[in-house]
Each structure stands twice: as C-alpha cells, then as structure tokens.
Amino acid sequence: MTDRSDVVGTVAGPGDDPNEFVFVTPSDKSIKTGEFITYTVSVEGEPRSVFARVTNRELIRGLPEGFLADPEVGPETVAATLGVPTDDTELYRLTATVIGYYDTNMTTFANPRQLPDPGTPLSIAPHQQLETVLPNLGCETDSTDVTTLDGVAHIGWLLNRPAEATNLHIPIEEFASTHLAILASTGSGKSYTASVLIEEMMRPSSRASLLVFDPHGEYDTLAEMQGEEAFQGADGYEPSIEYYDPERLRVRISELEIGDVMAILDNPSNRMQERLSTAWRAMQRQESRTWGIDELIAEMERIYGDDDASVGALEWRLRRSIERNDLFHPEENVPLDEIVDPGQCTVLQMDTLDQWDQQLITTVLLRRMYRERLDDVRDRDSDIEHPIFALFEEGHRFAPASGEAPSLGIMRTITSEGRKFGFGLGIISQRPSKIDQDVLSQCGTQISMQIKNPNDQDAIKNSVEAAGEDVLRELPGLTPGQAVVSGDAMNTPALIQVRQRRTPHGAGSRPVIEEWREAYDERQREPTQSESADFAEGDSTGVQSLD
C-alpha cells in the first residue's frame, strides 16, 4: 500500500495522552521535534492522511555514556578501539500528537479518534500538503498551490524544514478582522515581522488600508516599497506610504470626552468635576465643533457666575494642560481621509510625543475611526467606507493591564466588536503580561516569538488558547526571526522562520562602537580651544567648535 521509500519511522504504540503515539526511527532519519509527519488511516472507507506533530525525541540506543568519560577522548574513538560500529547505531523513540486529517468540507482538521496501529509506517508530511492545511485558507482539497491564492500573506516557512521549503501563507482577512497580537522580547523581530505583514498587505492582490502607530520611528523604511516592481499592479497600482509627523498630529478639543479631560486635568476636586462636566456637555450640544478653552470657560462663567472659585481653579488647569499643549487645537484635527485609504499605509510618527499625548491622540483617532466604520456598516454617511487595520507598537501602553490609559476603553470596544465593523487591530508588545487581558484574549491570531520572562509566558498561555503546551515550550529558545503562529489564521499552530523583508529594516540597534569611533575621529580633527589660542588664526576655529 504505502511506498516504504519515504517512510521515516514506524509506530510503536500509544503514548501517555489519548492523542499521543510513540514511534521509532533510526538515526539517519533525523526528525526534529515540531516536525509534521503523516500516516494513512481509513475514515468511513476512504483513505485519509492524518497529520501529527512530533513533540519529543529521546535516544533509546546509542553509545554508552561511559564512552564520554574523558572530554579529550571522543566517544567515536573509544567505540573504534572496541570495534563498536558508530554508523547507524542510534535508535530514537519519538512522541507525536495527532492533529487530525484535513476535512475538505469543514476545511479544517478533524480528529480521526483513533491512534495508528503499531507497525504503521510514518512519512514526513509533503510540503504542498502542509502549505494547504496548516493555515486556515479554506482550501477544498488537501493539496493546493497556495501561491496562486489572493489575500494571503507569505510570512515565512516551517522552521524545521530547509529555508523556503514549506512556506506559510496566512489569510490576511482572518488576522486583519479578528485582530492580531505580535508578542516577544525586545530584539526578537516583532517590528520586523509586522513589516513583513505590512509588505504582504500592501501588495496589489490585497491593497490594504493600514495605520501604524509608531512611537519609536521604526517604520521609516517602508516607503521603499514605492517604486519597487514587486509591489506594482498590472493596472498601475502602487502602494502609497504616508508619514504623519508629530507636528501634524492634532486633537481637536471638542473631540475629547469628559473622561479624557478629567484624566488630563491633574486631580480635580468633586466640585470642579461637576462644573466641568456640566459645561462640557453643554458645549458638546452646540452646533459648532470648533470651540476652545475660552468658549468653555465663558460657558462655565455663564452657568456658575464669573467669581466662582472652582471655575477659577479649572480655568488655570485647563489653560495649563490643554491650551498650552500644541497637541490640542480648537479647530485642527487629523483629517481621516488623509490617513486612511485603500492601498495606503499611514505611519503615525509619535516618537517626539510623550506617552500621555500618544495615548490621547490614539484614543481620539480610534474613536473617530470606529464611529465612521459604524456609520458605514449601518449605511450612514461615513468618511471611511472600507475596512481598516491599525497596528500598535508598544501595545501595552495603549491597552495596559493596569487600566491607566484613556485609550483602553476604545481598544476594548474595537477588539470585541471591531470584527463586525471591519476594524482590526494589531497589538505589538514586549510585555504581554502588561496588556489588558480582555484586549489580548480578543486577538484571534498570535505571532509569538522569543519570550523568556515567565510572567509574559503565562500571559500568552492564558490568553492564547490555540497554542498548545508543546508549542509554547519553544518560546524561550527561539532566536530573532523565529516565531510560533497560532489562532484564527491557522488550522494548527506552526513554528516558523519569518521571511526576509523586501524593504530594509529600520529598527536595528545603533552601531554604537562605530558611532563612538566616528565621533572621536571627528573630535580629533577639530583643534581644541586652547590650541586655537596658541595660533594666530585662532579666532575662526574657536567659533567652529561651538556648533
């Protein structure tokens, strides 16, 4: 029945768990943990390929450990001395967990509810089959050329296989509508992976409408997509990458909610709160949306009289916290039609704003966009008539577990309701344990990379149902660019190597040594002040060294 030439091992018997079995392989069939293997069973009379994931590997026969007694004498030398053959001596016992067979009607895995019999031959699962069944692509056969599908993101390939051998294309629609989390320690490749996804989403076959909230200026190189042939469509499409610098990031005062204002003002008294709420509501009922602090204070004085002590105290606080902050403006705001458009990726550069201002601008923008999406879906006039996807670097700042951010409420709303309105969020964070649990658990697709901190590992475990223990075990050992992809975009989690970017990566750490040396050389070239005083032509060099 089975051609034994591609057989890599033989089933020995059931394992500890109901879904586990044990098999044996010789050493030359080197199978790593995490590898996908397959065997055939008959399901209702039809032969089906069942997939299983290798979870453990142990040596059951090999050179005795006594041969390792002297570190300077190799075990193979001892073996040669004793005439023990060293080829093919090793025998491995591996444990595998059944994933299931690909049910073409359900387009996902179905459990055969029966372990393979002892003696069943096992093969390495073929590339194309895995490419079809691992991600949630809804294919109607179990072996499709997934590169021809629209709306898929080529994110990388299976880590256990050679580079680019078994490629993973994940469905963009899935992670863009049911939200995405990219979680890993600093330097593990979060921004890199996000950029890979942005590249994929901006290709002619997807033409996404993207927003990147970038507090560190890590996305400056995406612009190089423009002019690249790989991103150009036959109809003349080319992605447009817009940078929105901090000077253009404005919050129109009337767009703040009373809760935001309370948070901005430093600890107002109960009486102040009461006066401010009344006046704020009165202002919001007005026709005009372009009022400022002056108008607000005039309204308070109208209601409470112009010698009210609380109004006086409020005026002082409002002028200090809102009027003197350039972020707030009576009229100006960020025009939504400038920042969202199909085929456009807008990077909101927030690196010079303090964290508080970052949270406020984010809060207000998210609210406005959410309102527009709601209007669009409910057939009302809307400025945003297409789905949007917003990515957040430092996601824990905007949806903190501590609750201390004005943006938390709208983030919760969008992650729980956004899928109905075509508003997806991507949360990137190096501190998963500091992200609000509601927000994190609503992120349907997860890309987890190296994480060592046990609290953060627990946070992933608790919120990421789809990733099984065996996959999470891998997290501490991953190196930059290696990731576990799990959740809605996948039929089963997979360990991958994220592909290389087409655009250069802009978030590398600075070449510190190089910069020190350059700065030092620069210094050496400049004559010092005391030297210049010693020479006749001194007066001009003295000025130079000041800049």
Binding site: G66, V73, A80, G83
Partner: protein, 235 residues
C-alpha cells in the same frame, strides 16, 4: 607418550629470551609456554604448561601469568599466520587426588574440561583474540580482531608473545584497538574484566607515556571496571 615426544622435538631448538633481546622480536625464538591439550569452544582452548622435562627452557612464572598475550603459529594457504590469544585462567591438576581423572569444570559453565591427565600439571586457559600475518622479517602484519576462523590442533605450541608484537597486534591505523573485547568478556566469564584490565595495563606500559592512546585506554578500562562492578551488584 606421543605428546611428550613431540615436545622434545621442539625443545631441541635453540631459544632466546626475546624480552631481553630488545628491538626486533623473532617470532621463531619466542619462549614456548605450553601446548594445546583441548578446547571448550572455537575460541576457548586449554594448554598444558611446559615443565622442566618437556623442553630446554620452560616458561618462567612471570612469562605465563594471568593476562599474558600468547600466539600460536598456523600456516594457511602458504602464508604463516599468528593466531593471537591471551591466558585468561589457570588451573592446577593432580591426578592422584581424583584417581579417575578430574573434570575440572565445576558446573556447566564449562571452562576447562581437559581430557585425562596422568601427571601433576598446570593448565592455562587461552582465549583467542584475532590473527595476523607473519612477515618474512618475523614481524606481524595486517592484524585483525575478527574472530579467527581456523581451529588449533592438539599439541600446537603456545608461544609467549613479545611486547612489540602485542602492541602491533593492538594497533590498527595508529589507533589502539581491543575490538575482541566483548568476545573475550564472554569467554573469560567471571575473570573477564580482570583479563581486560591486565591487557590494558600491559599496553599502557608498552606505549610512550604521552601517547594519545593512553587516555583512550583509560576510558576503556573505566568502562570495563564499571560494568563489572555493576554486574557484581556493587553499584
């Protein structure tokens, strides 16, 4: 009897102490230790040690001690070979005590089951280790630790193996070898680890002190000792 005449015939030849002789050992002039009297299996022989009246120069006690490498000459297909062996056990026989002649083995783990012996004598158990060709110049070549295919004969002479030959036999491609080890452990039974340790000790003494093979021998010895202790339930 027949056997003793044969012995005398060998005893007529001149004999040199090769150990004292130094450089190139002459396989023809090695000390004769004894002659084969029986076998327990294809690899397990019994030799009767020569006494004063069997030859001109019977082996001295230290020349036929436990762990002494030996060889037996065999001409196969016109080429002279040395069948290499080691003394892994000894036994004294006094026919007057047993009258009907002893069966030396005490149980069915038979090691010595020599035939009828008339006089007081010392028997040595010789386990075969491998073979080598004897070259024109008297040195050995092409040593192999594979199981020897040929059988020895009753009355074959067992020679004392000089150190240089022992080293040559244990050196394959500059690498020390004791590939017969598992077979020897099997034949030598309870004394298996001791005979191997004795062989290793000898080899260590024969190799230069800075020879990298010294450390390999250490590891092998450790392994054998450890296994023996494990088998005896010590650890």
């Amino acid at each position: 009897m027949h056997r003793s005449t044969t012995r005398r015939q060998y005893g007529d030849e001149a004999m040199t102490d090769t150990l004292a002789d130094g450089d190139s050992p002459d396989l023809d002039s090695c000390v004769r230790i004894g002659s084969i009297v029986s076998s327990n299996s294809h690899l397990d022989y019994v030799a009767e040690v020569y006494k004063e009246r069997d030859c001109d120069r019977p082996p001295e006690l230290h020349e036929r001690e436990f762990g002494q490498p030996v060889f037996i000459k065999k001409t196969v297909d016109g080429t002279e070979h040395a069948v290499m062996g080691v003394i892994y056990d000894t036994q004294l026989v006094d026919p007057d005590q047993g009258r009907t002649g002893p069966r030396l083995a005490q149980d069915d783990q038979a090691q010595f089951t020599p035939g009828y012996i008339e006089e007081r004598t010392t028997l040595a158990g010789v386990a075969l280790l491998g073979t080598a060709e004897i070259a024109e110049d008297g040195t050995i070549q092409e040593p192999t630790h594979q199981m020897p295919r040929w059988t020895l004969e009753v009355e074959d002479t067992v020679f004392h193996c000089p150190d240089q030959v022992t080293v040559s036999f244990h050196t394959v491609d500059d690498q020390i070898q004791l590939a017969y080890m598992d077979r020897l452990l099997d034949i030598a039974g309870d004394l298996g680890s001791e005979v191997i340790v004795a062989l290793i000790d000898r080899l260590r003494g024969m190799l230069p002190e800075d020879d990298p093979n010294q450390r390999v021998l250490d590891v092998v010895e450790q392994n054998v000792q450890w296994q023996a202790r494990e088998q005896r339930g010590m650890v």
